[in-house]
Structure formats: C-alpha cells, structure tokens
C-alpha cells in the first residue's frame, strides 16, 4: 500500500503531532520504507488463524467491588501543568 504525504499529514493530526514541511518529507520517506518492509506480512497465509492480541491465555480476571482510599487531591493534581487546586485547567473546551 502506498503511503502519501497527505496521509502522513492526516496521521499527524490524528496523532496530535505537528511536522513542518521538511519533517513531513522525511517522515513520509521513513514511513514508506517501514511500511514497505512490513507489507511482506501480506504473503503469509493466515486463513483460519485467530488473532493473538495477548501473550497470555487468561480470561475473566476480575476485582471485587469495594472502595479503597483515593489519592488526596493535592497528590492527584501535583503533576498537572495547570490547576486551580480543585481541578485541571485547560484552554476552553467549549466550542470544540
């Protein structure tokens, strides 16, 4: 599958990254080369093979419904780039 510069621009937005013109060219070339390499997977016959999303065959791992102490708010907010002591502050979400 061919990967275009426009694809890369779209993926950059989806990834919430920005690439300038030069980076966009370089990234397009790099991704093309990597995608070109992984395209070899197409030659593997995987008919009837079930996908393996996990490295362990576990299921029904569940916790009990009981309440434990939450973080003190100070600790929760300590790493926030901006907060008002009650919540995380961000530029207006309204109008998104």
């Amino acid at each position: 599958m061919s990967l275009t510069r426009a694809d890369v621009e779209k993926v950059a937005l989806l990834s919430r990254l920005r690439l300038d013109e030069r980076e966009l060219d370089a990234m397009t070339a790099e991704l093309q080369s990597i995608v070109g390499y992984v395209d070899q997977l197409a030659e593997v016959d995987t008919d009837g093979v079930s996908p393996m999303a996990h490295a362990v065959e576990l299921h029904n791992v569940l916790k009990d419904d009981c309440v434990a102490v939450s973080l003190p708010r100070n600790d929760a907010l300590r790493n926030a780039p901006a907060h008002n002591d009650e919540g995380y502050m961000v530029p207006a979400v309204l109008g998104e």
């Binding site: 779209k10 937005l13 989806l14 919430r16 999303a53 996990h54 362990v56 576990l58 299921h59 029904n60 791992v61 569940l62 916790k63 009990d64 419904d65 009981c66 309440v67 434990a68 939450s70 973080l71 708010r73 929760a76 907010l77 790493n79 901006a82 008002n84 009650e86 919540g87 995380y88 502050m89 961000v90 530029p91 207006a92 979400v93 309204l94 109008g95 998104e96």
Partner: protein
C-alpha cells in the same frame, strides 16, 4: 398519520451501573463529592497504571442484557476507543467494539392510551464501558479556561443501543419508561437522570413518501437530552425541522455526514454542534491491558434464574392470578418494585386485590404525590391496609369514611381500629338505623311522594340528613332501607 413522512428513531442509552467502586479501580462512584477527590493513578490514567475489571459491574451488565432478551456470546473483550478530550485522561475510552458482551435483544412496549400498537423495540447491543470525566467552564477566571473533574472518570456504564424501531415520541417515551422500569426492577442502576445515571442520545431521521418511493433523510444525533420529556420534545421538534430541511435541500441519507445537534430545553430547539476537525477515526483495537471474558452456559443460566419477575411477567401475573384489569396491572407494576411488593402483600392478606389496587393507585398514590414521600416512608403496612379492607367489607366502616380512616392510619401510624376510634366510627345498630329512616321519612312527606312516583334521586337529601344525625350511618344502607320502607308501607 397526517404527516407525509414517518419518523425513525433509535436510542443510545448510557446507564450507570450500581457499583460502589469504579469499573477498573477502587475509587468510589458516589455522586456529589468535591472535584478530584475520588481519583487514583488508574482512573487518572497515570503512566504505568493498569485496569482490572470490576466483577460486580460485569454481573450487573449480564443481568441487564438477559433482561433485555439479548444473546450472550461466549467470548467478549474490551477495546480502546481513541480520541483526544481533556476529560478523557488516557486518550482513549475503554469500551467494546466488535465483540460486545450482548446483542440482539428486545423491549416490548405498549400504550394504555392506545396511541400506538404494542410492539417490540429491538436492542442491537448492550456493552460495558467506562465513563469520562467532566469539563466545567470556569466563568470566574475570565480567560475561558475549563476545569476538569475526573471523579466520574472510570464509572461503569452500560451502553444500550436500540434498533431504529421507534416511530413517534410516544413510542420513545414508552420505551424509555419501560427500560427505566426494567433497570429499576433489576436493581442495576438508580436511573437518576439529574445525577447522570441515565443518559439518552437519540438518532432521528425521516422516511418520506415521495410519489410512492420511500426516501430516507440524513440521520441526526441529538445530544444533551436531560429528561424523558426533553427527549419527546426534541424528537417532535427535530421531525418538523428535518422535514423543512428536506423541502429546502432534498438531501438524502448518505449525502452528508451524520450531524450532531444539541437540544436546548429552554429554547425548545436543537442546535448544530461544531463538527470535529477530522472525521472521527477512533482506531479501536483490543485493550492489551485487559483480558477477555468468557461466559459459560451455566453462568448465563444462573444469572437468568436470578433475574426474578420482570415488569412484563408481573403485569401478566397480576391479570391472571389477581384478576386485575390490564390497566390496573400496568399502573401497579409501573410504579416500581416497592409499590408492587406492598400491593401483593396487602392483596394476599386481604383477599381483595381489586380493593387494594384501588387504595394503592388512588388514595395512597395521591398522598405520596402530594407529600413527595415514598411508600416505605409511610407508617402503613400491607397488613394494616388489609385490615382496613376487611372491615370495610364487613360493613364495620361506612364506605365514605374509608378514606378518612386510611389517612388517619397514615398520619398517626396506627391500626384501622385505632383510627376508627379516633374518628368515632362504630358500627350502627340496624334497628337504630331503621328508626332514623322512619323518623326522617315521616318528617319529609314530599320525599316520600317523590319516591312513590319513582324519583329515586330524591333520596339523596334524606341520606344527607341521616348522616348529619349519625355520621356512621352507611349511605347505601340508608338508601336501601328508605326504599324498602316506602315500597312496603310499614312492613319493614
């Protein structure tokens, strides 16, 4: 239908499950806490934290799905739905994509007022997912910042997706009422819309008959529906709006991307919401931090057995076993489990289901509505109501005073006997009553003449006079006695 179109409606309902802790961590789900006091590394999505699924949330989901008549697949898994939003700290919501924990069920609805024929609304799927946090626009800073509260993040939600099977606001209302009733009977959610425990989004479009060809208009998703009434109004508004738009644009389904509109309850209209900068591409993939869930046939059977009687079965049983009308049965069941259990106990104790139904749906319900109390808050037991009904049947309480007795019982928390004593109600001796009737008839020759002429209504004035002299006199008895005396000369 008078309009030249049919409204086609499907609903997505998010139900907060009644767990004490969140879906993937042990933080409390309690509503109303101070912002960001119910969070931990897991629900903040701190680097390195991992989710472990809440057993009770899964149990409640299974219970609900079975009650919705859904199929339960043997294998289900959780996926990451990826998008950026400040109230979604991990950058993805843990939800279910291609293998939800249930699918293909239905909810039966009907309308006592017969505005639509009874029908089954299909349930496409019900899946278990986590809630996001809350963004609050902070006016005070004046800089237009939003403040994020993550208390709600990670709360377990069951998303119930209906098929586009509803054709009117009335059907939608019936579906929502029935769904809420079902969830309440199952005790899987408190369904409190004000606290966000039940949230509804509606997908609406029109099927327009254009010279014999049915044309579908673009689907609009309506959000911000804060009450069932709002859902009804929004659908009615949206149908008219979409028809006007069709007349202007002639846009069909597929011509434009799905639009999202927000309901403005005060203005009574929907408003287009700004579309995202990129078309949504959620890049779902299985969450590697969670392992799948496998339901065995025995587990499913066990859960099915534990459902108890559900509203539809109860309505049928009330009609068949208690000989209630369809209407009474519906009214009772629709008031919820508490009222229903009270009714069943009182009906069994008194042996007169109809009488209990009347008291419960009329006098007691009126009292509850007026005072805003709940049945369990009243000092009235099914046994004491049954006692009242027995005394009424035995003629110990004149029927017009039954309500007074009931209210006294409720007000003072006392037995029927005590209430009767308080109100001075006692059985009136038959001969005393006959004497009273004869005295009154003798004093009212005009009424006697009217009665002889067949004007039975004239007796009303006599009943009034009799009850003035003896409030315990039973009007029916007075009436019967007077007619008998007049008809039989002096023979009574």
């Amino acid at each position: 239908m008078s309009e030249p179109y049919a409204i086609v409606i499907g609903l997505e309902t998010h139900v907060q499950l009644a767990t004490v802790s969140k879906l993937f961590c042990h933080c409390s789900t309690k509503f109303g806490a101070e912002p960001n006091t119910q969070t931990c590394p897991v629900c903040i999505g701190l680097p390195g934290s991992l989710p472990v699924m809440n057993r009770e949330a899964l149990r409640l989901s299974l219970r609900t799905a079975l009650a919705l008549n859904c199929q339960i697949p043997e294998f289900t898994k959780w996926d990451r739905k990826q998008y950026y939003y400040p109230d979604l700290p991990k950058g993805y919501q843990i939800s279910q994509f291609d293998l939800p924990m249930s699918n293909d069920g239905w909810v039966a609805i009907d309308d006592p007022q017969e505005r639509f024929a009874p029908k089954k609304v299909g349930i496409i799927r019900a899946h278990l997912e986590e809630d996001a946090g809350k963004s609050v626009h902070d006016e005070a800073t004046g800089r237009g910042d939003s403040v994020i509260d993550l208390n709600r993040t990670g709360t377990p939600l069951l998303e119930i997706v209906s098929a586009p099977d509803m054709r009117s606001a009335a059907e939608v209302r019936a579906y929502l009422d029935e769904l809420k009733l079902l969830l309440t009977y199952l005790a899987v959610s408190d369904c409190n819309m004000q606290e966000g425990s039940l949230r509804v989004d509606a997908n609406v479009n029109l099927h327009i008959d254009v010279r014999g060809e049915v044309v579908a208009t673009p689907i609009v998703e309506i959000k911000n529906l804060n009450s069932f009434r709002a859902v009804e109004r929004a659908i009615e508004y949206e149908a008219e709006r979409q028809f006007r738009e069709w007349q202007e644009t002639h846009q069909r389904l597929g011509d434009v991307p799905k639009q999202t509109r927000g309901w403005d309850d005060a203005a009574g209209r929907t408003k287009a919401q700004r579309s995202k900068e990129e078309s949504s591409d959620y890049r779902y993939f299985p969450d590697p931090d969670l392992v799948p869930v496998v339901f065995t046939a025995e587990e499913i059977e066990q859960a099915r057995k534990g459902l108890g009687e559900l509203p539809q079965q109860l309505r049928e049983r009330l009609q068949a076993e208690m000989r209630l009308s369809q209407y009474d049965a519906s009214v009772l069941v629709n008031q919820g489990r508490e009222v229903l259990d009270f009714f069943v106990a009182a009906a069994e104790a008194s042996g007169d289901a109809k009488a209990v139904a009347n008291f419960v749906t009329q006098d007691i319900q009126r009292h509850l509505n007026q005072t805003g109390q709940s049945l369990s808050g009243l000092p009235l037991t099914p046994m004491s109501l049954a006692e009242l009904i027995k005394k009424l049947a035995a003629g110990e309480i004149p029927s017009p005073r039954a309500r007074d007795v009931l209210m006294a019982m409720i007000e003072h928390g006392e037995s029927a006997n005590a209430a009767m004593e308080r109100l001075g109600i006692e059985a009136v001796d038959e001969s005393e009553l006959e004497n009273l009737c004869r005295t009154l008839l003798a004093a009212n020759p005009q009424i006697v003449a009217d009665l002889e002429a067949g004007k039975i209504k004239a007796i009303g004035a006599l009943i009034g006079q009799a009850r003035k002299q003896n409030p315990n006199a039973d009007p029916n008895r007075i009436r019967d006695l007077c007619i008998a005396i007049v008809a039989g000369g002096n023979s009574v």
